[in-house]
Symmetry: C2
Subunit: 413 residues, 2 copies
């Protein structure tokens, strides 16, 4: 071993060790240090979130739990179920919390996400995207072989035949739902007759088991104003209900009729036949959803709390009217509206620069930051932000209660 590589090895061994010089009042925990202190689901030390190295992704447990409880109570009283979408959190611990609260399963957007969820203890999974390549179909069938609760979407006769062939070759029956296009023409098959014919084909294919349909109206979720959103989504889902009726009239299963999202969770039960909502963002909320307005408040969608924040540190305060932080586009994305500083007014934040966040003060700014100050950002659009981080700190009363692995981070395949 060369001298240089010995030195490197010592560095690797020592870089997680306690710091010599740090003031005792500020420990300053790196991601790996915090991880090492989280043993058997318990933090071994009492750590304030303000001691986390930044940028850090944090979730407030009281708010997260309240969001999950609100979703469960509302859907139950509306006579439907929730099947939350794991593409938002990519975190098995949160999926389990959702199931424990009464959700009937989770959704995933990609087969790699589904694999990560199953590998981490989640058994009821609806994959909402069609697998089209041989490798992805094979992976889906491998998963189905082990996980009886795995259901996948299909949206063409050609694809249904491939799925059946693959399932048959493995000696299994695979559960599928028909993905019906709500009019966005992004994924799914045309409702009514084409969807019915696909369902009839599935019913005849030897190794497929039809479970129903899904129709995700993504285009309505962020429509501003409750009445406008309600009118649009009910109109767009009407063809899915007609399809549901055609399935029933033909004796085909409609056990699953999944749709909806965070923006329409308290509207979707008015779509006749719908069984469950594929809600994702409600667990965290974000600035994009806050701005759509709710049933009780036209301006602010306040049904759910903004539980997800990014902790960031001020790096430069020496120029008038502004400051620079350590959370730029690589920590916040460039989604709009920009992230918002929690509990402050008169201060704007932007993350247009890859490495740095920019703070600008209005005349009536509620505070002025100094170098080293930490602030908390309400995220702009939660799904792609979560996809940047390997771990999430679960916080209660400003203390780190858990460190959660974002097991499906980066799994877009």
């Amino acid at each position: 071993m060369t001298k240089s590589s010995m030195s490197r090895r010592r560095f690797l061994q020592s870089s997680g060790a306690a710091a010599l010089w740090l003031p005792t009042t500020v420990k300053g925990y790196t991601a790996s240090e915090i991880q090492a202190l989280y043993v058997d689901g318990e933090m071994q030390e009492n750590i304030s979130k303000h001691e986390l190295d930044t940028p850090a992704l944090c979730v407030d447990l009281d708010l997260l739990e309240a969001n999950i409880a609100t979703m469960q109570a509302t859907t139950r009283s509306n006579g439907i179920a929730s099947r939350p979408h794991a593409k938002t959190h990519k975190t098995p611990v949160i999926a389990q919390m959702q199931l424990d609260s009464g959700s009937i399963g989770i959704c995933t957007a990609k087969v790699s996400e589904a694999e990560a969820m199953y590998q981490n203890g989640i058994d009821e999974i609806l994959m909402t995207t069609t697998n089209v390549t041989p490798t992805k179909i094979q992976r889906a069938m491998n998963l189905r072989q082990n996980c009886p609760g795995f259901v996948q979407a299909t949206d063409s006769p050609q694809n249904a035949r491939l799925l059946s062939e693959a399932a048959m070759a493995m000696g299994i029956n695979a559960d599928v739902v028909v993905d019906v296009d709500p009019g966005g023409h992004r994924t799914g098959i045309t409702p009514r007759q084409p969807a019915l014919e696909l369902a009839q084909l599935i019913n005849q294919l030897p190794a497929l088991n039809l479970r129903g349909l899904l129709c995700y109206d993504g285009g309505s979720q962020h429509v501003k104003g409750f009445e406008q959103r309600k009118n649009q989504t009910l109109e767009r889902l009407a063809a899915a209900t007609e399809t549901y009726d055609l399935f029933n009239q033909s004796g085909l299963s409609t056990e699953i009729f999944s749709g909806g999202g965070t923006g329409t969770y308290n509207i979707d039960h008015e779509t006749r036949g719908l069984t469950d909502v594929q809600v994702g963002s409600y667990v965290f909320m974000d600035a994009q959803y806050v701005d759509i307005g709710g049933e009780s408040d036209e301006e602010i969608y306040s049904d759910f709390h903004t539980s997800l924040t990014i902790l960031t540190t001020v790096l430069n305060d020496q120029y008038e009217g502004r400051a620079t932080t350590d959370a730029g586009a690589k920590a916040c994305t460039i989604n709009r509206p920009w992230a918002r500083i929690k509990n402050e007014t008169g201060i704007s934040y932007s993350s247009g620069s890859d490495e740095f966040g920019s703070i600008r003060y209005d005349e009536n700014a509620s505070t002025k930051y100094k170098v080293g100050d930490k602030l908390e950002l309400i995220v702009s659009h939660c799904d792609p932000v979560v996809n940047l981080y390997n771990q999430m700190y679960a916080i209660r009363d400003d203390k780190v209660e858990a460190v959660w692995q974002i097991a499906a981070r980066g799994l877009s395949a």
Copy 2:
């Protein structure tokens, strides 16, 4: 062990195994399968890039090597050096290629990036951001203790004193450069007298070793039109050269005067005193840089090749004039201009949806895709795209030659 967890364990063991059902003509390699085939720096099988599971991040080795050679030849003939910025690639293998070509070191934006580079064999590192918190200063000093080639930026007297205290407590001398603001007021100290006074303070502090200055004119890198870009950056760097003169007149080190980037790499040598360019994007190029125009072509910046692409698969082709792929915002970011389909015309791509890419055909589209077809995207803005992926496939003549770990991915702290 429960029956369910036994089944899960079998799944974990089998999910990397060879598929039973796949047509023999299309293997379809997942990320973990490819990784397993890359042993001791050699691929154990001959794999076409078209067999990669998607989305996949690919770099064309011939183009990457040409970009590195062009940068080296141009800077050498202009009498300056290159100190490429690893914030772009976050990949130690590429940093090593740059050093092997003659670069005098690499830059990093964050201390965690610097740690990852050092842990993977890189010894000459200039960290261009100031470390302001106790924990980050401690990490920088731990790194400096093991890596004599580590130099860090500082931009305030208060920070310089903290760095000196921390170095002294560890019994080391730490190398620093003064970060000078080019006028963007984002980071850095005001040029001329304030920067000079900071340099004089550093020179007097017991445990710091002044190595010079840096001035990164990020705001000029994407100015369209070569002459306009040249005029702007030379004007904005004039104060840095005056600062350089003041350092020299006071007998202070100007061994390092680092600045510039991919947009100004063939302009920066006209800034008197400048020693090296902190070029990042030139290794990959992207749609944003292509559009700024070059010295020889006002419309297209063709000095470097677009070596970095995202491989994606068509999921839905059943609606007129459009198609849907598996690479959305989580695989491409939402930077503009949108990613471009390589070698095609009359087809636009957008990744505004988190999970899906949208293809739209003009009347004169060069091709129409079918479900399962793979296409290659020239990325919009390379830095944040690389930051989404754990690994990059190095391709030569359409074959996978290597699998590179993006070791500093997600390291924004």
